[in-house]
């Protein structure tokens, strides 16, 4: 473990005394995870503990909160943790999670996209409309995603070129696109009869409604865990071999074990028969879709220049500019990706409902997306957060909805509970930020 000690030892001149070496209680952001700072499991635990006390704790509070909420609902209604309901939960939460991921791109910049919910709705209308008109599903999906990406790019251009606040520009987008979706549905003639365009394609329908076979579910999950595990292992080993700060092997192995257990639990749940009349088992396709997007975006944010620049701009835009980064381009690109991800959300949403109607509430949905990202730990102030936050936060929002519905509570309770959780998350975010500023 000597490799975990990065500093050269021959520098006698500088004063290597304790006042200079500030402990990393407030380490945040993209890459400086506790495991890189620890040299043993014990130290890892100590660093985590210190961070939690310093108000900076990564995914831990969300996971603890999620477990608490799940336990609460399970005690109130024993059906909550049934396989059928849990799979239901996965399909319900999917579009909130992807919308949360859409928001992460702009939240990291310290911006927001309030239009994303209606961007998604318009994308769905376009795709469903094209499919109903006889186009192949893939062409319809590509066209819809191209349109929503283009809209995202347009918003980005207006915000960056005219130097307008994203809050206002995307609020205008929310209103305008809300009108557009009504217009499109109402003017689509017999396709949108009664204000509803139905989904007439089995493949798109199966994103939410279809499942892999139980055997295929195991194979896919084992492959995914093996891939993630070996990538983690190789990366950590490369760092160790090169004598860089690296987590001790035990922590690498614990991480891989966590992936394996999480994957196994998901498959065990999904493979229980949840059918009422006919047997119904296996992992819903939408889980794979969400995991695939999560992987791509995590790679994009964590391992590419674009991702690095997004964090840099969110942290200190002036510093990024002086480092020669084209901040206008990066910001526009981020808004474009938000548009693209909103488009994907629209397709998943349509698959979930089997249709898209003129009563779609894109204004409320987008706030769930923002809530998901923020509950998961992404800062509203920019520079801090990751894609996984949207998954964890989206699950929290999904659990609240699913659970309150199961208890027979009304929409009013659902809204108010989500509000409380969101408020708590934002409070944690704000306190963390204040802690950083006083450091």
């Amino acid at each position: 473990m000597t490799s975990a000690n990065p500093e050269p030892t021959d520098g006698g001149t500088a004063t290597a005394t304790s006042p200079e070496t500030v402990p990393d209680t407030l380490s945040t952001g993209s890459a400086a995870s506790a495991e890189l700072l620890a040299s043993s499991v014990g130290e890892y635990a100590r660093i985590m503990l210190r961070r939690i006390r310093g108000g900076e704790s990564g995914a831990l509070p969300v996971i603890v909160g999620l477990v608490a909420i799940v336990l609460f609902f399970q005690i109130r209604n024993s059906l909550f943790l049934s396989a059928g309901n849990l799979v239901n939960l996965m399909t319900q939460a999917a579009f909130i999670i992807t919308l949360g991921m859409a928001e992460v791109f702009v939240l990291l910049l310290g911006e927001i996209d309030l239009a994303a919910g209606f961007t998604a709705a318009n994308g769905a209308v376009l795709a469903l409309w094209m499919m109903a008109a006889g186009n192949p599903w893939w062409l319809s999906v590509i066209a819809a995603l191209a349109a929503t990406s283009a809209y995202g790019a347009l918003q980005g251009l207006i915000i960056t070129r005219l130097r307008l606040p994203s809050f206002v520009v995307t609020l205008a987008g929310l209103l305008g696109l809300g009108g557009l979706v009504l217009f499109l549905i109402n003017s689509s003639g017999r396709l949108g009869l009664g204000g509803v365009i139905t989904l007439q394609n089995n493949i798109i329908n199966d994103i939410e409604a279809g499942s892999l076979s139980p055997v295929a579910s195991w194979i896919v999950m084992i492959a995914l865990v093996a891939l993630a595990g070996s990538l983690t292992f190789l990366r950590d080993r490369r760092r160790r071999v090169n004598g860089l700060v690296a987590p001790p092997q035990s922590i690498t192995l614990i991480k891989i074990a966590v992936y394996a257990v999480a994957g196994a639990v998901v498959i065990l749940v999904a493979n229980v028969n949840r059918g009422r009349l006919l047997p119904l088992r296996g992992l819903p396709w939408v889980v794979l879709v969400v995991l695939a997007i999560l992987t791509c975006y995590t790679l994009l944010l964590g391992r590419t220049r674009f991702g690095r620049y997004v964090y840099a701009i969110g942290g200190n835009a002036e510093a990024a500019r002086r480092a020669g980064i084209n901040t206008t381009r990066i910001r526009t690109l981020a808004f474009t990706l938000t548009g693209l991800t909103a488009g994907i959300t629209g397709i998943i949403y349509a698959s979930y409902l089997g249709s898209i109607s003129n009563s779609v509430n894109g204004g409320e949905t987008v706030l769930y997306g923002v809530a998901a990202a923020v509950i998961g730990g992404t800062s509203l102030f920019g520079g801090r957060g990751k894609m996984l936050d949207a998954l964890l936060g989206g699950l929290v929002v999904g659990v609240i909805y699913n659970g309150l519905e199961l208890l027979g509570l009304s929409a009013s309770a659902q809204l108010m509970w989500t509000a409380l959780v969101l408020l708590a998350a934002v409070a944690v975010d704000g306190l963390t930020r204040r802690g950083q500023n006083t450091s």
Partner: protein, 290 residues
């Protein structure tokens, strides 16, 4: 930018003479940067006029002057924030026109601004390589970047940073200054300009930064330090340049001055020597705070 600064360091280490002989070394070599008749006005305000200044490699040039004397204006002219209204900048023997900060950075002039321009949410490696990331198969090559950053910090003997993967937000003021300087050095800068590098620092951190400044010079890098604190100036400066109301009133080897004479120059534009030469009575010295 991957070219390592090692060789430069070795050359400079060899060429670095003990303090007394420094000035001969400087006067024999061609200065890295020469300013000739630099003037700058903002509308009717003449902020700089007729500045002639040579900045030799491997030496620390301290730029001192009262508030509003034009120090910031001068370094902004050198670092490409704006072009001078008149005069020439001769960089490594060639006339240059820096239209943007990037022009100056590309030429090898790195400026460490007073506000440092670091991203608190990124770690030390990420900050040091920001805008110059190294990639491998299209993805960021964290291993190579970390090694590069580590080597630079090692060369500069920055030993107070416990972990190179700490976020910059968690560092102390002196450590942040060190990261900002190391970032400049990584860009293979031949001239590093530092605006008030010790203004916000405590005693031990100031020592750290002053140490770093001498180390830069010993690597053959030219350093311009803007400072109010004459104590710090006399600790590191090889040469002192005094600005007074937009004019360069004195340039010379640091050992030829003391605090009192520099304070006089800063506040009146004349030193005691020149004053006595002009037949004026020297006033008793008052305070000399920076």
């Amino acid at each position: 930018m991957t070219g390592s600064p090692h060789d430069g360091a070795r050359l400079a280490e060899a060429g670095r003479a003990p303090s007394g002989a420094r000035d001969e070394v400087a006067t024999t070599g061609e200065p890295l940067l020469r300013l000739r008749g630099i003037g700058k006005h903002f509308g009717p305000v003449q902020a700089l006029a007729g500045i002639d200044l040579d900045v030799p490699a491997g030496q620390v040039t301290a730029l001192v002057g009262d508030n509003g004397a034009g120090k910031s204006t001068l370094i902004k002219t050198i670092s490409g924030i704006w072009e001078p209204s008149e005069g020439q900048i001769i960089w490594q023997g060639r006339h240059v026109h820096f239209r943007t900060p990037k022009d100056a950075t590309d030429a090898g002039i790195a400026t460490v601004y007073q506000d440092l321009a670091l991203c608190d949410n990124l770690d030390i490696v990420q900050n040091m390589l920001l805008g110059h990331e190294i990639r491998r198969h299209l993805l960021l090559d964290e291993v190579t970047m970390e090694k590069t950053a580590k080597r630079t910090l090692h060369d500069l003997r920055v030993t107070t940073v416990r972990n190179i993967r700490q976020t910059v937000g968690s560092l102390s003021g002196g450590q942040r200054q060190a990261v900002a300087v190391a970032k400049a050095v990584m860009l293979d800068a031949r001239l590093v300009i530092m605006d008030e590098p010790t203004a916000a620092l405590g005693v031990s951190q100031t020592a750290l930064v002053l140490d770093l400044i001498t180390r830069l010079a010993s690597r053959g890098i030219a350093v311009i330090v803007v400072s109010h604190n004459l104590n710090d100036v006399f600790k590191v400066a090889d040469r002192i340049a005094v600005l007074y109301l937009g004019r360069l009133v004195e340039v010379g080897p640091a050992p030829e001055y003391d605090t009192a004479s520099v304070v006089d120059l800063m506040t009146t534009g004349m030193s005691q020597r020149s004053r006595t030469a002009n037949g004026l009575a020297p006033t008793p010295d008052s305070g000399q705070e920076g």
